[in-house]
Each structure stands twice: as C-alpha cells, then as structure tokens.
C-alpha cells in the first residue's frame, strides 16, 4: 500500500465534502485493515485500473447518506432511500474524480470504473482480503468512511524498472 497515493483522496474528500455540506470536515480516525470488506451501511465501490490499481469504498450509514443527499440538494426534506444511495455513488464519483485529476497531473494514467453500490445486510463480502487504509471523516451531517486499497499497476512498475 503506497501512502503517497492516499493524500490526494484525503484532499479531494475535503474539497468535495466541506463546501457541499457547508461545514468543516475532520479526520476522526485513520487505521489499517487487512480483511475483506463488508458494507456497514450504503457503500459505493469504485475500481481503478492502469498505472494505479485498486479500489476505494465509500461507506455511510443510511441516515448520514440521507442527510448528506438533502444537504447537497439544498433541501430540508429528508432524501428517499433511493436518492440517498444515488448520492453515495455520486459523492464517491466526485471525490475520486478530484483525486484522479491530481494524480493525472502527477503523470499517472488510469481508468476510473463506474461505482458499484452495495448495501449492509446483504451478507456478502465485496472484496478480497487486501491491505487498506481506512479513513473516517467527521462532518456536520455524520461520519463518512473511506476504505482505500491502491498500489502501482503493472504498467507503472514495468516502466519504472526500465
């Protein structure tokens, strides 16, 4: 797990969440995990392939997702379950997209795959056992968990070895 790949995602999460939620965001917890992943709430998994390979998982409990969806939509009404799920996927897209732009400026080329939605209680683990950095962001609307497992892809490693 290459820690220098993590910082752009931390910066991107702050760049997306703080203005969207109109409140500061802090990192409440940072840890390393090595087991396969089971969603805790509404989870969006985004895979990367190319010079950087791996996946990022955004996981929010349903109430937090609903509050964040309402906040981003500029509404006081609680968001429906379907809209909250869509919001988690869109949030994942925006944070990862912003991070990807930074990494691309650093010379990395890779493909971002569309988010896959997974819900807690479905009883399945959605990834293999892999080392991951887990960040828990605290926002005014609740906590947002980001589980990142990334490494340099084979193309990048081969190019570095030449």
């Amino acid at each position: 797990m290459k820690m220098d790949l993590i910082q752009p995602f931390i910066n991107a999460a702050d760049a997306v969440l703080a203005p969207g939620l109109q409140c500061p965001m802090t990192i409440a917890n940072l840890s390393m995990e090595g087991e396969s992943y089971s969603p805790h709430g509404i989870a969006a998994l985004v895979a990367l392939s190319g010079d950087i390979e791996g996946r990022i998982i955004f996981d929010l409990d349903p109430n937090t997702a609903s509050r964040i969806a309402s906040k981003f939509a500029g509404s006081d009404e609680p968001a429906s379950d379907a809209l909250a799920q869509e919001a988690v996927c869109e949030l994942a897209n925006q944070v990862i997209g912003n991070a990807v732009a930074t990494l691309n400026d650093q010379g990395f080329n890779f493909r971002v795959h569309p988010p896959q939605l997974h819900l807690a209680g479905q009883g399945t683990r959605i990834t293999e056992d892999t080392e991951a950095v887990v960040l828990c962001f605290e926002t005014g609307s609740g906590n947002v968990s980001m589980n990142i497992a990334l490494d340099y892809g084979a193309t990048r490693v081969a190019a570095a070895g030449q």
Partner: protein, 146 residues
C-alpha cells in the same frame, strides 16, 4: 440558492432549454435545480450516451450538460456523435473526472466547455453565458434595480 439574472434565448426571449445527461439521478436533479435558478428549463434528461443522442434528436435543446463516465456509451463519444449530426449543438461536459486528457478529448470531439464536479453554480452560470454567446441574453436578477 443564489439569485442569478435569468439567461434567455435572444431570438424569442424564451428560457434556455437544457438536456441533462448523467447516469446519476442525484446529479441530474442537482443540475436541474441549478439551471432552473438561471431561468432555464429542463427539456429532457438521459442516463447514458445512447439515450442522450436520441433525446437530442427529439427535443433539440439549446444546451446539453453531459457527464463522461456512463453506461452503454460514455459522454465524450455521445458528444462527438451529437456534434457530427448537429454541428451547432452546444455540449458542455460536466464531470468529476477532470483530468487534462479527458478535457482535451472532449473539446477536440466538439464539446464547447468543461465544468468539473462538484459544480459551483456561479461557475456553471458563467459557462452557460459564454457558450450561449450572442444567442443568450442575461436579464436583470430578481429585485435588481429596485
């Protein structure tokens, strides 16, 4: 939401008509609210590039707001096809994946501009005014000059 002077079509004073293309309902809803705050009208929506092309043919919007990463057909290809069929089409890419390669590809394929998500209303507003050019007129904001 912040007040913006409505942007209308110069030829008939009618609201600018938008086709919003994004596989996320949430994103389409947010963009829809934004363009309505600019005095515009959401004439159609699509969740993928194939539907976007069909919808463009059907509704002939003034502006298309097009995401990039979508199922069936991605936004850059859809933009290219729309512009090939309708050279006057005004396609603005709106995407979270804003790296240089994407932006250059989109502009080379006929898109008029690129806005990165998360979209700021004031940024999109200026892009829309720019893209509409002389064919759009920004009136007075509500309460202005009172």
């Amino acid at each position: 939401m912040e007040q913006f002077a409505p942007v209308k079509r110069s030829k008939d004073g009618q609201p600018v008509r938008y086709l919003i293309v994004d596989d996320s309902v949430f994103a389409r809803k947010n963009l829809g609210k934004m363009v309505e705050s600019f005095g515009g009208q959401v004439a159609g929506e699509a969740g993928d590039g194939v539907t976007a092309i069909a919808e463009y043919d059907r509704i002939q919007p003034d502006i298309v707001l097009m995401d990039i990463t979508m199922p069936l057909m991605e936004g850059i290809e859809a933009a290219e096809r729309i512009v090939q069929q309708h050279p006057d089409a005004r396609v603005v890419m709106v995407s979270s994946v804003g790296y240089q390669e994407n932006i250059v590809a989109a502009l080379q394929k006929g898109a008029r501009h690129f806005v990165q998500k998360p979209v700021k209303a004031e940024v999109l507003y200026e892009v829309i005014k720019y893209v509409m050019g002389d064919e759009g007129t920004a009136g007075q904001a509500a309460g202005a000059g009172a």
